[in-house]
């Protein structure tokens, strides 16, 4: 046995080590020093993120159940950076509201377990590993959504998330069993070679697709999204909308592009319809929201619709544009959620109308929020524009001109509601404006990192070419 092959699981083993270390630390740190645990966890994860950036070999172990390529390694790093920024943004909330009740470690252990599940999910080489990763990434998040046990809304969010997720994975499982009949195996490579277009394989694909669509919250599988985002703690909502969605998009793309490639002519139509409904419903519902968390929930649904425009391409260009867009989306959405978190922590206000006149009292926060919303809307100087532009190029390259036209219509609609928030912050005045406050160091670093990400990704183009090179291997 070649022990070196285990190094392919370097990231997973390191993260598992961190989880165990945190559990041990929880036992041995005395009660009045629990506040240090937050620093400890952030520090450990920072090291993990830095180590993850080192280069890694490609290959597969466990008879092909687990495999890693340059693209998968890159995507795990994207997830790492996202979670690191998220930790920085939620450190203050944990220290002020949670650690006093002796429950700080649970947050990190559950969050990291979920991330571990995502690692296994994106590296999966067969449906068993995929299913286990999917479950490991979902279940801890449901526990996290119900994390503020004293709040009724939080429990409601937890029960809605766990029941929807259980239904989704049950449906996906039934689909996998159909694909098992059709393909004769649960390994991705075997299924890819043996599967043919038949009623059975189409049924299996549709069920599997709808199971994953729950995770990405595509319309018509989006009903849990807004409620869970509103009820769950902001960090958890942010994690769901950024990291969880990103990982699910990645594995959906891998499944559609490799395993289900023989059914390309069928899933193209499905993705077309899903993209249209998701964009329109997400955008139209976002128009009428007043709570910022619900607003961001519907905006993230609409963004998922845009991502499908890259997936419909089905080639290397599609892979590269989707990964690039997810990378930008991670930074933009984390910035928006970070500002909401900072303001909610100090004042408890979460409505758009509460943000009236924010620029006069808190100019820096409003600028971060403005950049984030501009990036989500796709206004040229910031990164979001290029992400959307490449996605549209990918869809237009396959001749879906009508779809691209309707997507552009949707960008216009989305511009309206993103600008509503910007108007509230910059143009309106209010006597009850949120007073000036100073966030702590962690939150500041978290927000500065997201702003850097938004600006650098928009101006530094070689990164896209790097992703494009990496995505050759997927085919």
């Amino acid at each position: 046995m070649d022990w070196n092959s285990f190094l392919l699981m370097r990231q997973e083993m390191l993260l598992l080590g961190i989880i165990l270390l945190l559990i041990i630390a929880e036992v041995f740190i005395s009660k009045n020093k629990k506040g240090n645990l937050v620093h400890f966890a952030v520090f450990l994860f920072g090291i993990h993120t830095a180590v993850g950036l080192l280069a890694m070999e490609e290959g597969s172990i466990f008879g092909g159940m687990f495999h890693t390529t340059g693209l998968i390694h890159f995507f795990k790093n994207v997830l790492n950076i996202g979670v690191f920024i998220l930790l920085l943004q939620s450190a203050d909330w944990l220290q002020e509201k949670i650690v006093d009740h002796q429950r700080g470690t649970e947050f990190f252990v559950l969050l990291f377990s979920s991330l571990l599940g995502m690692y296994f999910m994106v590296s999966a080489g067969d449906f068993l590993m995929f299913f286990l990763g999917l479950e490991l990434s979902t279940l801890p998040v449901a526990a996290l959504a119900a994390y503020e046990m004293a709040k009724r809304k939080s429990s409601e969010a937890g029960i809605k998330l766990i029941l929807s997720a259980a239904l989704a994975s049950g449906v996906a499982l039934f689909g996998i069993s159909m694909l098992y009949i059709a393909g004769g195996s649960i390994y991705f490579n075997d299924i890819m070679q043996t599967i043919t277009t038949s009623h059975l394989s189409i049924l299996g694909m549709v069920l599997l697709l709808s199971g994953l669509a729950f995770k990405i919250s595509l319309v018509p599988f989006h009903f849990w999204t807004a409620d869970v985002y509103e009820g769950a703690p902001i960090s958890v909502a942010s994690y769901l909308s950024v990291i969880s969605k990103g990982a699910a998009v990645f594995i959906l793309m891998i499944l559609l592009f490799t395993v289900l490639r023989p059914l390309l002519h069928i899933w193209e139509n499905l993705v077309y319809i899903l993209a249209l409904t998701t964009m329109f419903i997400g955008n139209l519902f976002a128009l009428r929201q007043n709570n910022l968390k619900r607003f961001l929930a519907f905006s993230s649904i609409a963004q998922a619709g845009f991502i499908l425009l890259g997936i419909i391409n089905g080639e290397q260009l599609g892979v590269a544009t989707v990964i690039y867009f997810v990378l930008i989306y991670v930074f933009s959405n984390l910035a928006a959620f970070g500002v909401v978190q900072a303001i909610s922590l100090r004042t408890g206000k979460e409505n758009i109308s509460d943000y009236d006149g924010l620029y006069r009292t808190n100019p820096k926060l409003s600028l971060v929020m403005m950049l984030a919303l501009f990036s989500l809307a796709g206004i040229p100087p910031v990164a979001g524009f290029f992400g959307k532009f490449f996605l549209f190029t990918a869809a237009a390259g396959k001749g879906y001109y009508l779809l691209v036209f309707l997507a552009v219509v949707n960008v216009t609609i989305s511009l309206y509601y993103y600008l509503l928030v910007v108007r509230a912050m910059f143009l309106r005045t209010s006597e009850h404006a949120i007073p000036y406050f100073n966030s702590k160091l962690y939150m500041k670093i978290g927000l500065v990192l997201t702003v850097l990400g938004i600006l650098v990704l928009g101006l530094y183009s070689p990164l896209y070419e790097y992703i494009f090179e990496l995505s050759k291997n997927l085919m």
């Binding site: 279940l139 029941l163 259980a166 039934f174 069993s177 195996s185």
Partner: protein, 105 residues
């Protein structure tokens, strides 16, 4: 193989089980009943995997192994859901769906 029963009959049974579960998930008003419906869906796939393995591809035990993992995961899922339901019950004194509608649209 079970004598006298073909794979079609068993697959019909599991498909029925699956759709009974989906129907229950949509129509039931009690959180525990919804959880039971989800279990039905999960178990339909468990039977599916075992039967497909046994009847169609008996050389490799992929399906049987898969079903063991599904049972374990389903148990974890149920435990977590029950824990959340108990916590909810402590706060609102009810396990009905109608009681969990403070957030809408």
């Amino acid at each position: 193989m079970i004598a006298g029963i073909s794979i079609y009959e068993i697959l019909t049974l599991t498909t029925l089980l699956f759709f009974i579960g989906v129907y229950g998930f949509i129509t039931r008003k009690n959180l525990i009943s919804i959880l039971i419906s989800v279990e039905l869906i999960m178990n339909a796939s468990v039977v599916n995997f075992v039967i497909i393995n046994k009847y169609l591809y008996p050389d490799v035990l992929q399906g049987v192994l898969f079903s063991i993992f599904i049972i374990a995961v389903a148990a974890a899922e149920t435990a977590l859901a029950i824990a959340i339901i108990i916590n909810l019950y402590r706060q609102i004194g009810s396990v009905e769906v109608d009681a969990t509608e403070t957030m809408k649209y």
